[in-house]
């Protein structure tokens, strides 16, 4: 206990060490990516530049590339409709892409609800609120199963009746209606009711994409975990922080790769870590950096005190 160091508030050490830009690299890239995909869809209706037509549920790029949301596709199948070849092709392309780069890359790099829940989490932290209701992580899988069962029983693509992702996306492109109320409800839910509740515990779309990316190639690795100084910043920013411990706190022969399908590959842990413990790599790169010379890093602790 005597070796415990005093840490600066969340993210400050990373900023001090790497500069503001360095400590927000992946955050900025993610926001750029989210904006890019949104603008791609909006160029047509707003400026008449038709690169992509449609919405996240189904789209056509440059008149040749069809893309279909595989979760909507699956519900349609279960509801009793075998879609035409175009939709089948589109769903297959999306499935393969996310199976390779990580299913939940959709959540943190594309989904338009992500900035909403990130905003709620930012305010939640600023206000120092309690984490509130935290249902089990498996809850979203249960909800996903329920959605599929209801689709089968009712013959309607059930989640699209309430899905805030496609509703917000479609709202921006085709007309909002009362979708803003739904977005506000999710913001308030994440702010007051449940910390990182929607994306982390409820959303069945995220659950589905998590399953898709179970064997994905792109992974975050705690390769430099011997440099970890237990500041806990990564746990504070990670939207799925249960995925960190097995990699970061594993024994020396445990893989440093974050292999949990819950990881959204958002890279927030990479940004916030002053010691550069984490990095993006592929799932076969399980090398751990050798412990650094004692002079190079602040005094590492042998183990956690509890």
């Amino acid at each position: 206990m005597t070796t415990r160091t005093t840490h600066l508030p969340l993210g400050q050490e990373a900023i001090a060490r790497k500069g503001w830009l360095g400590a927000h690299k992946y955050l900025l890239l993610r926001r750029a990516s989210q904006l890019f995909f949104l603008v791609l869809f909006l160029l047509g209706p707003w400026f008449g530049i038709w690169i992509v037509q449609g919405t996240l549920a189904g789209s056509l790029t440059l008149g040749v590339l069809p893309l279909t949301d595989p979760f909507v596709f699956l519900q349609s199948l279960i509801a009793g409709h075998w879609p035409e070849l175009t939709a089948v092709t589109g769903a297959a392309i999306v499935l393969v892409a996310y199976a390779l780069i990580g299913g939940r890359v959709y959540c943190s790099w594309v989904c338009p609800i992500n900035p909403v829940t990130d905003g709620a989490h930012w305010l939640h932290r600023k206000l120092g609120l309690q984490k509130g209701w935290q249902p089990k992580r498996a809850t979203r899988l249960w909800i996903m199963a329920t959605v599929l069962i209801v689709s089968g029983l009712s013959g309607v693509i059930a989640w699209e009746l309430v899905n805030p992702i496609t509703m917000l996306h479609r709202g921006l492109i085709f007309g909002m209606g009362f979708v803003w109320a739904m977005v506000a409800a999710i913001f308030l839910f994440d702010l007051f009711v449940s910390r990182q509740g929607w994306c982390g515990h409820i959303c069945p779309v995220g659950a589905f994409y998590g399953l898709v990316g179970t064997k994905a190639l792109l992974r975050v690795s705690a390769a430099n975990r011997t440099a970890c100084d237990d500041c806990m910043d990564c746990y504070a920013v990670c939207p799925e922080n249960q995925v960190i411990s097995p990699a970061l706190k594993g024994k020396s022969d445990d893989t440093p790769l974050i292999l949990s399908p819950d990881c959204t590959n958002c890279g927030r842990c990479i940004d916030v870590c002053a010691e550069d413990v984490f990095k993006f790599t592929h799932r076969f790169d399980d090398l751990t950096v050798a412990p650094p010379e004692p002079t190079a890093a602040p005094e590492p602790r042998a183990s956690r005190p509890f």
């Binding site: 037509q53 069809p66 879609p83 309607v156 693509i157 085709f174 007309g175």
Partner: protein, 272 residues
């Protein structure tokens, strides 16, 4: 192995509790979702689906709400239902004939754009589309029914003289004119809504309705005697005895006939 009298192992107990809790929560959420799904099937009568749309029940299992049909519609007829604004299942395409009717493009771009087949790609001739059926709902206000020659619905019909014809009848009001009654023939009407859009009245007297509201149906076992007779070329029932007809003649109450006598009772004279 009996469970009675032996407390469950803590892990097992926790597992069962968690499973029961999750199942209960999912049942509640699922019921709510199923209620919404049932609600979504209630398509308002004035909302028409694009050409080739599957029957409503199948449509909601097939339409992924991508909006590609809306994008391809050159006349901005189609729109996607907005949450809480339109009573149509949110995000699905529809049009309101009185606002912008379907222009019945020859190449049916909306159907070609649909990636899932929610708009049936088997529809290759727009004249076979069945978006609804026009019905002259208000005979009291229709100008043609009043004996005027409005004829607008008839003139604008893309399937003129087939889907809408003008049938003449005696004009009882003037006594010496004809009324030209716009008459819809449901087997040729595509439900495009041009007639409803163009009706000159403040509220259209002719409206496109979904077939379920617009049409009755004949019972399967009904046969029309005159058609059967024509098809057979002879009376349908054979061996009918041809009884003598009661023709006017001597002994009948018909003064015109030779030997006829005056009826015992005459209808009262109508005085104008």
């Amino acid at each position: 192995m009996s469970l009675v009298g032996k407390p469950l192992a803590p892990n097992r107990r926790r597992f069962l509790q968690d499973a029961a809790r999750a199942a209960g929560g999912c049942l509640a959420a699922g019921s709510l979702l199923a209620y919404l799904a049932r609600d979504a099937r209630a398509l308002p009568a004035e909302a028409l689906r694009p050409p080739g749309a599957l029957p409503e029940q199948d449509f909601l299992s097939a339409c992924i709400r991508c909006g590609l049909c809306v994008r391809e519609c050159p006349y901005d007829t189609l729109k996607l239902a907005e949450l809480g604004v339109d009573a149509v299942a949110t995000g699905t395409p529809y049009f309101t004939a009185r606002d912008i009717p379907c222009e019945m493009c020859d190449d049916i771009p909306c159907v070609a754009a649909c990636p899932t087949g929610a708009l049936d790609p088997g529809l290759d001739n727009i004249d076979d589309a069945k978006m609804g059926v026009a019905v002259l709902v208000d005979q009291e206000n229709c100008l043609n029914f009043l004996g005027l020659r409005c004829d607008v619905c008839y003139r604008v019909c893309p399937v003129i003289d087939e889907a809408i014809t003008l049938e003449t009848q005696h004009n009882a009001r003037s006594g010496h004119h004809a009324v030209f009654i716009p008459t819809v023939h449901a087997d040729r009407c595509t439900g495009c809504g041009m007639c409803e859009k163009s009706c000159v009245l403040p509220e259209a007297a002719i409206k496109v309705l979904p077939a379920r509201l617009a049409r009755g149906s004949s019972a399967d076992h009904y046969r029309k005697g005159w058609e059967e007779k024509e098809a057979k070329g002879a009376p349908v029932v054979e061996g009918i005895i041809d009884l003598p007809d009661r023709l006017p003649g001597p002994g009948t109450d018909n003064l015109v006939a030779p030997g006829g006598f005056e009826p015992r009772f005459n209808l009262p004279e109508v005085t104008q």
